[in-house]
Symmetry: C2
Subunit: 417 residues, 2 copies
């Protein structure tokens, strides 16, 4: 019993929005042992949606549909589903009460006729209440297959998935246990990693799969197995332990988490604090660190010293040094690290200054040149990088490399610093 996800909306086919719903849904389904077989995006076209329903019901027993349930004229999903499953539209009293409640209590506006229409549903579906918006979800069954239609607004869809759809699916079907174990490495490429673990990989049993997921200069390795008994879970765990040992020199974290999450746990466990002094990344490193709940335990604050003047006034970088060496220089970035740490009285600091593009390159300092320094009370490490990508990717690469440099500084034995 596998699932297909159908997302509906012209905006997905002209690339105006990135589909984050499908990834979230797949993750949640996977946790509950529901394997996603396919994800399909189609436009707001009657024929295309109809054909997608036909096709996906050949592939999967569970078809989850998002999008196309809004109150505006471009949304055709609801009448289409009504027709596809041979029902007629009726007003659902509970959905009507929900629309009225939301307008009166949350939006504090009168309900328009357009919004009242959201309470109309096909009479052959089970209505799923939307606790975060006005469009109800709909659960249909046909030939033993389940079709669920949900709004495309991410937090509305998430509410329905968590509170209704997944629990109902788990009641209705028996799913296998799927086990995923992931680890994250830094400082080694995909091919070198593959060479390093080749003989281990060749000896993996066929029901345990390994995937390489390279991203921003790091490589995530994921082991996946499917099985309905504990033996498979234990077996996967054992292979994962062997893998951890093989990659130990490059290991960032043995969890499925980004490096900023690992850094948060590391700092919190050591009861230590960090601050940032960012030029080219403009606050992105600080944003990553504070995106983790509970970051106030270890993030003190930071500086965005984007201009020369800001570097001088916020971080006391001497004007002569900026003139002589340039803002993108080892001397400046080390001073940024020192002064920010002193100023905010933290255990560690991260400082970056670089040229992320597309413009701003100069002789000897092409676009992509970035200096990073990380410091503790007794140690300082600085390093120059040359990134070759676009502004967004260079920003990401700078941030993860800076966090990884701090990680290495923290975990390295005192003598080797």
């Amino acid at each position: 019993m596998t699932a297909s996800i159908i997302t509906i909306g012209d905006e997905l086919l002209i690339g105006q929005v990135i589909d984050t719903n499908s990834a979230w849904m797949a993750q949640e389904l996977s946790k509950h042992g529901i394997a996603v077989k396919r994800r399909v995006a189609v436009g707001d076209s009657w024929d295309d949606i109809w054909r997608a329903l036909d096709e996906e019901s050949l592939h999967s027993g569970i078809i989850l549909i998002t999008g196309g349930l809004g109150p505006t004229a471009d949304d055709i999903t609801k009448p289409l589903l009504c027709s596809y499953f041979g029902g007629k539209m009726v007003v659902n009293e509970q959905a009507l009460a929900n629309v009225t409640h939301i307008f009166e209590n949350l939006y504090k506006k009168p309900v328009s006729p357009r919004n009242l229409k959201q309470a109309e549903v096909p009479d052959n579906c089970t209505v799923i209440m939307n606790q975060r918006g006005t469009a109800p979800g709909m659960w249909f069954e046909k030939n033993g297959k389940v079709f669920v239609s949900m709004p495309g607004v991410p937090h509305e869809m998430k509410g329905m998935m968590e509170h209704d759809v997944i629990p109902e699916l788990c009641k209705k079907f028996q799913f296998p246990i799927i086990t995923h174990r992931s680890l994250l490495t830094a400082g080694i490429g995909e091919s070198a990693l593959a060479d390093l673990i080749q003989s281990w990989e060749e000896n993996l049993p066929p029901h345990i799969k390994l995937a390489y997921l390279p991203n921003y200069g790091m490589v995530r390795l994921r082991l996946s197995s499917q099985g309905s008994d504990d033996a498979v879970v234990k077996e996967t765990h054992q292979h994962f332990q062997e893998l951890l040992h093989l990659v130990r020199d490059y290991l960032v974290t043995d969890r499925d988490e980004p490096i900023e999450s690992f850094m948060g746990r590391l700092l919190q466990s050591r009861k230590e604090t960090v601050c940032t002094a960012e030029s080219c990344t403009g606050g992105f490193i600080s944003h990553l660190l504070t995106s983790i709940p509970g970051a106030s335990a270890y993030v003190e604050g930071g500086f965005v010293s984007y201009s020369y003047a800001a570097k001088e006034s916020l971080l006391e970088i001497p004007n002569e040094l900026l003139i002589e060496k340039g803002a993108v220089s080892e001397e400046v970035v080390r001073l940024m690290a020192t002064h920010s740490r002193e100023r905010l009285k933290t255990d560690y600091s991260i400082a970056v200054s670089g040229i992320l593009g597309p413009d701003g390159g100069m002789p000897g300092k092409p676009v992509g040149t970035v200096w990073i320094a990380v410091a503790s009370k007794s140690k300082m490490v600085s390093r120059c990088f040359h990134f070759r990508f676009d502004r967004a990717r260079n920003t990401q690469l700078t941030a993860v490399n800076a966090l990884n440099m701090l990680r290495l500084l923290i975990i390295s034995p005192p003598s080797s610093a």
Copy 2:
């Protein structure tokens, strides 16, 4: 002649990565008049990939495939394509030279046998050179349909699409002109907007489509038309002008751009500067502002005053005020706006302090409470928001609302402030 996009990888089906490739590809194709009909994601499974190729060639004449071309054992796309199109694997000399060149000159490492295998391609395809990585792209033709396989690494795929795939497709086929015009509104919901423009929308000709794209408290409206002559373009333009007039009170920008990009153009045209003082958003607003190329013309810098101590030492917020009113208060956020602007000598400042969740709520200040202040030399506006979502979404909502408040402060006539 429409296109289908097939993305390959188990990681897409367990939601471990978000598929940003498809959106980018759809956007580029759309610009060149190539309509994307479907996007499909399948796992690293021989049968599923094979069936996706069969199915999509019924839907579309152009099938673009990404993923599954890496050097590691989980990548099966290349042998599958070889078999699907009935070829045999041969070493491609140009691809071999590319792999060798990249290892010797960029990675400065010896080429491993595993990487040399990347130069092997089916003998019945046209090889597309990869200028940013080792895996070559492959162009197949069968029954008048085009199949192109590209790596899943975003910047490698982008390079191939821009330099080879799109130009070749435009040479081979004649595409219609597709016109999109988008605008962004703030301060009005999707339904109210629909009511406001209802009679205009009802009078749209059938070949011009309107889409509502709500996102983070703003709504984007998009007009799309298809036609091979200038008349349709002109007609779309005229309807767009009418729409602009109807929504003028809520209009942020008449381009397809995020608010931070509009703010950049606004500030740059006025030769004015901005700084930030962020608590709960931890640098995210500053990151958004500096994510726009050329931001150094108007972003001076900013403060991340995450802790009480940082608020005191960086922004001179009196400890007594923090104790008396709390960090999340109108008084504190106004002082943050004033002091950051004075400190960095900018024309404007943005200051935020709030509780984004999941924890940290307190009596009278539940999770989601956010104070925002924006200031100029002569004006200051502050406002309290109550967001109801998760940490990431609350961060986004805080940032776009803060930028919108600054926009309104800048464009409002002096008397109304």
